[in-house]
């Protein structure tokens, strides 16, 4: 594996040269470790796997729709591909090799993978949340849409109501300290109109607690920390001792961590913390692609307009933006509407319609993919367990 592919100084992680030398040692070795010539075969497999991972993440980087639903679906697909290859490798290598070291490695991966299951569940809830927002957006888009030849006061009020609800729900989502039931202003008049009329309602609106299937004390940030806990590159003797399996596992662990981290960054969930560091020695061919994506996404999250976002998913930020613009426009509109203002409104509505489409088309399949990730992890774990049961 040509570690010399990288220009730029490897921020010389201590393992960089070690990793390189170990891996090239194995290839060049004239006296095979286990007496067969399958040594170079193992090598090839390991190289191929790592290269494949690198390719997949490079493709993700190259796309121009970073953080969109479509991009996320691609991310999930990539994960599933990696996982399948990894499973195949496990199946073969697991049953041949020194017991304790191999067992420990595999147990380590599955510990992390099980933690990812809860992330998948939280993400599914978040997707439902996005779906709800999409429905509100749809109302506004239809009220102000192309089909409406005339934008009368009725349509405007309808759209405004929907967008106000949307804004309140999204605020609800972000407000970590709020009580369970948000006393929402219903439609009696404009958004500012308040109080007395509302005494009919006890508390309505989309309560945050209702969307979550994990307890309120669950934290995505903590879960990610746990997944990434003690994730260290394997040392040379480990690699040798496990016939390269430790590198497979290290790779897969990082892929798992990255994908979960990215999902948390994009989709609303409890306590989204983005402080996860990837310190992968540059000698790993997939280190750069993953780190690059990590940096880009982190950059996004720091941008002024994204800092308080419920989620970095492009469609979410679009909803937030267009919703805000629309609300501003609608707030100041007088009748009869000036053509300029009308165009502004219609434009925002068009944006919203597009987001709506993207959501309607992509969200269901995306949810299914998340579920598929869940299933595959469980499946591979039970397979892994069974194997260990039979051979301990």
């Amino acid at each position: 594996m040509p570690a010399t592919d990288y220009q730029g100084s490897s921020a010389a992680a201590p393992f960089a040269s070690l990793g390189r030398s170990i891996l090239s040692l194995r290839r060049d070795q004239t006296h095979p470790v286990d007496g067969s010539d399958s040594v170079s075969g193992h090598d090839r497999e390991l190289d191929a796997f790592q290269r494949h991972v690198a390719d997949l993440f490079n493709e993700l980087s190259a796309r121009d729709d970073l953080l969109s639903i479509a991009w996320t679906r691609c991310l999930l697909d990539s994960f599933l591909i990696c996982l399948e290859e990894f499973r195949a490798v496990l199946f073969v290598r697991r049953c041949s090799g020194p017991r304790p070291a191999v067992d420990r490695l595999i147990a380590d991966f599955f510990e992390r993978a099980v933690k990812a299951l809860d992330v998948c569940n939280a993400i599914r809830d978040g997707i439902e949340q996005v779906r709800q927002w999409g429905k509100l957006v749809e109302i506004a888009a239809i009220a102000l849409g192309k089909d409406q030849k005339v934008l009368g006061e009725g349509q405007l009020r309808r759209a405004k109501k929907a967008v106000t609800d949307l804004t309140l729900t999204m605020l609800d989502e972000k407000d970590t300290g709020s009580s369970v039931f948000t006393h929402r202003n219903r439609s009696f008049g404009r958004a500012g109109h308040n109080s007395g009329k509302d005494h009919h309602y006890q508390g309505t609106g989309h309560s945050r607690s209702l969307s979550w299937s994990v307890s309120r004390s669950w934290s995505a940030a903590r879960q990610l920390q746990a997944i990434g806990n003690n994730l260290n590159a394997p040392r040379g003797h480990e690699v040798l001792a496990t016939n390269g399996l430790s590198v497979f596992v290290y790779t897969m662990n990082n892929v798992l961590l990255f994908v979960m981290w990215a999902l948390v960054a994009m989709i609303p969930c409890h306590d989204r913390g983005l402080n996860v560091h990837f310190s992968i020695p540059r000698s790993f061919v997939w280190a750069a692609p993953i780190s690059l994506l990590h940096e880009r996404i982190t950059e996004e999250s720091k941008r002024k307009d994204k800092r308080n976002s419920s989620g970095l998913l492009k469609e979410i930020t679009q909803i937030e933006k267009s919703g805000r613009h629309l609300l501003e426009l609608l707030d100041v509109i007088q009748f009869p509407m000036v053509e300029e203002k009308e165009m502004g409104v219609r434009q925002e509505a068009e944006e919203l319609a597009q987001v709506c489409d993207a959501i309607k088309q992509g969200l269901n399949p995306m949810e299914r993919q998340v579920r598929e990730v869940f299933h595959r992890i469980v499946r591979s774990r039970t397979d892994g367990l069974e194997c260990s049961v039979m051979h301990s």
């Binding site: 009368g152 307890s215 367990l385």
Partner: protein, 616 residues
């Protein structure tokens, strides 16, 4: 009763049409809180329906007027479509208010939850077996709550819908929903519905004790705690599905009229709760396999399997269908978990390698554990027969057999896979016990130990008709023969030496008829006998044969050999000793003494406790 929105038969003249429309608009604007904030009471507040009906009729007029022959609007802000929007906004609030103020909180506590369970085995295991199962795995003699009828019956209608909202309010909701949907405001209507109902569903779930546990939470819990939660979940799930969700579906159908228009609001209302409910069995199915979990996993499996048809009926269409799919998936996973757990148990039996011999050669805890376990398995026969489809030999080809070539696998033809597994388990247990038997230094004790344990196995099988049916009488006979043989081996090992003292040869000095008896030899013999018997008494009183019948049989068998031999020996030779000095040194025991002493054998108590009668 609000009128439906269909058009009237009579066609009004244009003049009256316009007048109608204007009147309608006026009415609606009068109730617009923006225009006239003074109106702050609700239209549909349950008392006087007149206003509400007028309002609805006004809406109907307006919508009719929006047909192709509608007159031009007087002013843009007063156009019918605007007015409709105002009306819709108002209706949405009325709708929401109705749902919130008229919802009856279902009294779930008073529900007869027991009647919601269908198959008798499920309720059996809820009430009777709560404690028994777990105790039995470690306890001594108890049999599991005997005779639980594990009949997989299923009644036609186990669903019990209740009124979540009083019927008159339902009517109002229906009227409102009709108008909103017809005016193109179905989304708002569905939104209002689900946001109001969601909180009610969530409250219901709370009251039933459904918890929000992540997979990590479930993994961290101790098994005892989990067992309690499983029991609670089974009860709660029945109420959730058959009452709560079913009632929500019915309400939704009533409010939205047709199932297809009710699909979306229903899914939105209950999806989160349903997912939350299912997350618990899902987490259990994912957990680590360990033998003690088997029966609770089966309980969970059975409960979910029971509920599945109801889930299919309630979550039958639209976005809610994924709930049914998920439930089916979880059921399959629970089945897998059960299979995996059984495998884990079998491996545990195979691998159990404690090397400390049980004192007194009595029952090994492993034997008791395993036999109790498979008795319970036979209780769950109906379910396990469906789940267990591979035989052990299929699984254990290769490594295992080469690891243990000495295990004699019986012929497993003509058995269900489950029965094969049970036989296999007993075979493995037997093999394990044989290894343990070899740990005893004393061969007699070794035989006794194995005899005890095999006998226990045979008895346990005989005690349970289901188990006996699966193990089969032929194998039982084989085991019986084995432990009888061991009894014989024990006797040989323990008593041959002693009986040897009472043999004839060597005592007579000359082959002639005359009484040429070597007195010294005789004295040696008596002394040897006494010493040997004392030794046997000392050690074997501390040995234990737990089964009273077997104990008695063994003693009888010994006495049948010992007593006649001793009596004959005494009869033939005592006068030789008695004619010499200190006969009491040599003839320590009478036959009765021996008989009495034998009664102390295998009691598991050291002999100093007993006095021993001596007769001279």
């Amino acid at each position: 009763m609000a009128s439906s929105g269909s058009s009237e038969a009579a066609m009004p003249s244009p003049a009256t049409a316009i007048a109608d429309v204007e009147a309608a608009e006026q009415l609606i604007h009068r109730w617009d809180p923006v225009a006239s904030p003074s109106h702050d009471r609700m239209l549909f507040d349950g008392s006087d329906r007149a206003d509400a009906e007028l309002y609805l009729r006004a809406i109907d007029h307006l919508r009719q007027s929006l047909g192709p022959s509608s007159p031009a609007p007087a002013s843009p802000s007063r156009s019918p479509s605007n007015t409709i929007q105002i009306a819709m906004a108002r209706l949405e609030d009325e709708f929401r208010n109705l749902l919130l103020s008229r919802s009856a909180e279902p009294d779930l506590e008073s529900l007869d939850l027991g009647s919601l369970s269908i198959s008798s085995r499920s309720s059996d295991h809820d009430h009777d077996h709560d404690h028994d199962h777990d105790q039995n795995l470690s306890d001594a003699e108890d049999d599991p709550g005997g005779g639980s009828t594990r009949v997989a019956s299923r009644s036609a209608s186990s669903i019990r819908e209740i009124d979540l909202v009083p019927p008159d309010a339902v009517q109002d909701l229906r009227s409102i929903a009709e108008r909103m949907v017809a005016a193109g405001y179905a989304r708002e209507c569905a939104q209002a519905y689900s946001s109001a109902r969601k909180s009610a569903v969530d409250t219901g779930l709370r009251h039933l004790g459904v918890e929000r546990l992540s997979i990590g939470d479930v993994q961290r819990l101790e098994w005892e705690a989990l067992e309690a939660k499983i029991r609670r979940w089974i009860r709660a799930a029945r109420a959730c599905v058959r009452v709560l969700f079913a009632s929500e579906r019915r309400l939704c159908d009533q409010v939205f009229g047709t199932p297809s228009s009710a699909d979306a609001p229903f899914a939105e209302t209950v999806k989160g709760a349903a997912i939350q409910l299912l997350s618990f069995p899902e987490a259990i199915s994912i957990g680590r396999r360990s033998p003690e979990k088997l029966f609770k996993i089966l309980d969970l499996h059975d409960a979910l399997s029971d509920l599945l048809p109801d889930i299919a009926a309630i979550f039958r269409s639209g976005p809610a269908e994924s709930i049914h799919t998920q439930a089916a998936d979880i059921l399959a996973r629970l089945a897998e978990a059960a299979r995996g757990t059984l495998s884990e148990f079998e491996n545990a039996v195979l691998r159990e390698a404690s090397r400390i011999p049980v004192p007194g050669g009595t029952l090994h805890p492993l034997t008791r554990y395993v036999m109790n376990y498979i008795s319970l398995i036979s209780d769950y026969q109906p379910t396990l027969n469906e789940l267990i489809v591979t035989t052990p030999s299929a699984r254990f080809s290769g490594e295992e057999t080469t690891d243990h070539p000495e295990i004699n696998f019986p012929d497993l033809d003509n058995r269900t896979p489950l029965a094969s597994h049970l036989v296999w388990i007993i075979v493995v247990l037997q093999h394990n016990l044989e290894n343990k038997a070899s740990l005893y230094k004393d061969a007699a004790l070794s035989h006794l130990f194995l005899m005890n344990n095999l006998h226990y196995i045979v008895n346990k099988v005989k005690d349970s008709p289901e188990l006996r049916g699966m193990i089969g009488d032929e194998y039982l006979r084989r085991l019986t023969g084995k432990y009888r043989q061991l009894a014989t081996s024990y006797q040989r090992a323990a008593w041959v030496k002693i009986l040897h003292c009472l043999r004839d040869e060597g005592i007579h000095v000359s082959g002639s008829f005359s009484s040429g008896v070597s007195k010294s030899t005789l004295r040696e013999r008596f002394k040897a006998f006494n010493a040997a018997f004392d030794e046997a008494y000392r050690t074997q009183a501390a040995w234990f044969v737990p089964d009273p019948q077997l104990r008695e049989e063994l003693r009888i068998s010994i006495s049948e050999r010992l007593l006649p031999a001793y009596r004959a020996f005494l009869g033939r030779f005592r006068h030789h000793i008695e004619s010499g000095r200190h006969p009491e040194v040599y003839i320590k025991y009478s036959v009765e003494d021996l008989e009495m002493a034998l009664m102390d054998f295998f009691e598991g108590c050291p002999p100093s406790v007993h006095g021993r009668k001596r007769s001279h």
